[in-house]
């Protein structure tokens, strides 16, 4: 008899867990029948800033920025760019916008954002908001609300010893749901 009660009790608990309508919610309410969806990976969109250089979007999560012709003594003449000289290098600066969306995530979700660069031995340095972009990931933002966008400053420092010609880098951004 005791065993039979225990069996009924366990069965009843299982029923409660399976059927959420048993918690007093209407069985016909859509909320009770919606499956729990795991949040998808955050999406990163890189956009031109209002005061920044021309930036081309190359599809989801990809963009490119051509700073054009730059030189130590003449700096840059492209709109949205500025330059300054140091004794042994020059720095070209511009701004861009970074947007992060988190489809399927809870309201008020946040992400942390890291930056890194993909080439191993670059001839020039890159910083974003003063944070050096290295091959190892560096934290750019500890906490950024999902669905928000922020403007960032990109600095490219070219030493005077860098041979003339094209330079190129790829900066990788990673947004992780917190």
């Amino acid at each position: 008899m005791i065993s039979k009660h225990a069996f009924i009790f366990r069965t009843g608990m299982l029923a409660l867990l399976i059927n959420r309508a048993a918690f007093g919610q209407s069985a016909g309410a859509p909320r009770s029948s919606t499956p729990v969806v795991a949040p998808a990976a955050p999406t990163i969109t890189i956009l031109p800033a209002a005061t920044g250089a021309l930036l081309r979007s190359q599809g989801p999560n990809r963009a490119s920025l051509d700073l054009g012709r730059v030189s130590y003594f003449r700096g840059t003449s492209a709109p949205g760019e500025s330059s300054r000289k140091t004794s042994r290098s020059f720095v070209v600066s511009t701004r861009f916008e970074l947007r992060v969306d988190c489809p399927g995530s809870a309201p008020f979700s946040k992400v942390s954002v890291t930056i890194s660069r993909l080439e191993a031995a670059p001839s020039h340095a890159i910083t974003i908001d003063g944070t050096p972009v290295r091959s190892e990931a560096q934290t750019l933002l500890q906490s950024m609300p999902c669905g928000s966008a922020g403007e960032h400053r990109l600095d490219v420092e070219v030493p005077v010893s860098t041979p003339e010609g094209s330079i190129g880098s790829t900066v990788a951004f990673e947004a992780t749901l917190r």
Partner: protein
């Protein structure tokens, strides 16, 4: 045994939730630029010369002020030479510095041209007479980053009417 099973299940669930929340998205920004080699020429006041107005820039001037063949005062670091009763000259050194960035050039050539030919006064840069207004090579093996002194000597004939004398010399440095 049942408790251990439940605890294990709960821990596994928490671990799963943690993994599920560590969703990561990525994006890339390609950054390109074309670095152009550049060369810069500046005029600098020489230690023994008249103060260059605009020293350290590429647009500078030498102002001798008001001078006369006989008597009067001579500016500091200007040498006045009177040649009998025919003419007098004013001379002062100034420095030219050529810098280079992002280029494999090792030397530069420097040419100078008097902007307006002058048939009355004589304009010498070192030993080179610039008066005709034609380009003259000053060096074919200039050393970058070094201030090189050149002496400007202006000779004014006594027959010339009093008044202002003004001209300019254009310098062109080309990396070699």
């Amino acid at each position: 045994m049942t408790n251990r099973y439940l605890l294990g299940t709960a821990l596994s669930a928490f671990a799963f939730i943690g993994i599920a929340n560590a969703q990561t998205g990525s994006g890339t920004l390609g950054v390109t630029a074309t670095v152009a080699g550049s060369i810069n020429l500046t005029f600098v006041t020489d230690a023994s010369g008249l103060a260059v107005t605009g020293t350290g820039t590429s647009t500078a001037s030498l102002a001798f002020g008001t001078v006369s063949m006989f008597g009067g005062s001579v500016p500091t670091n200007v040498t006045k030479t009177v040649s009998g009763t025919t003419s007098f000259s004013l001379a002062t050194p100034f420095d030219v510095k050529v810098d280079l960035a992002n280029s494999a050039s090792t030397t530069y050539t420097l040419t100078a041209t008097l902007a307006a030919a002058d048939t009355v006064n004589t304009w010498l840069l070192g030993a080179v007479d610039m008066s005709a207004g034609a380009p003259h090579a000053l060096t074919a093996a200039g050393v970058f980053g070094t201030a090189v002194p050149y002496t400007l000597k202006l000779t004014i004939p006594a027959s010339e009417a009093a008044g202002a004398i003004s001209n300019s010399i254009g310098f062109t440095a080309v990396g070699g």
